[in-house]
Symmetry: C2
Subunit: 85 residues, 2 copies
């Protein structure tokens, strides 16, 4: 069975986000002064083929080993079944 | 009222994603051969203060002007009310 997994990788709250601050500053300068804070993360969309029971454990492993840096990043993911083409 | 808006910016399907391909290759090399495709995008979390009616229009403007490149990227966003601290 084919699955689409969206992995959201974001900086831990305590970690400074210079990229987010730059975007925040730029938005304010362009007149969007209602914006108070900006944080930027990654959304990694995986397409994979396998058994539903194994997907969560395998994706957790992928996140811990490769997709997220556990020291400065948090991650969460959502699994969605994809119709076979 | 304070809102948290999550903006998801992803490459259009027709656009090649070299970063995604590199991650896909690396996952396969690390034994995660069930992974068939990887696409990488951004999740931009905005904290803003304003009227709910105005938020959608203003965030759409921000996306069209600053946060997404309409030539190669798609965007969508979700608005969530944030309890006043």
């Amino acid at each position: 069975m084919k699955y689409e997994v969206q992995v959201f990788v974001t900086l831990k709250e305590a970690v400074l986000d210079p990229q987010g601050s730059a975007v925040n500053h730029s938005l304010n300068q362009h007149g969007y002064t209602e914006v108070e804070d900006v944080r930027i993360g990654k959304v990694i969309t995986l397409t994979l083929d396998g058994e539903r029971e194994a997907v969560d454990a395998r994706v957790t492993e992928m996140c811990e080993k490769l997709l997220a840096n556990p020291v400065i990043e948090d991650y969460r993911f959502e699994v969605r079944e994809v119709a076979a083409q």
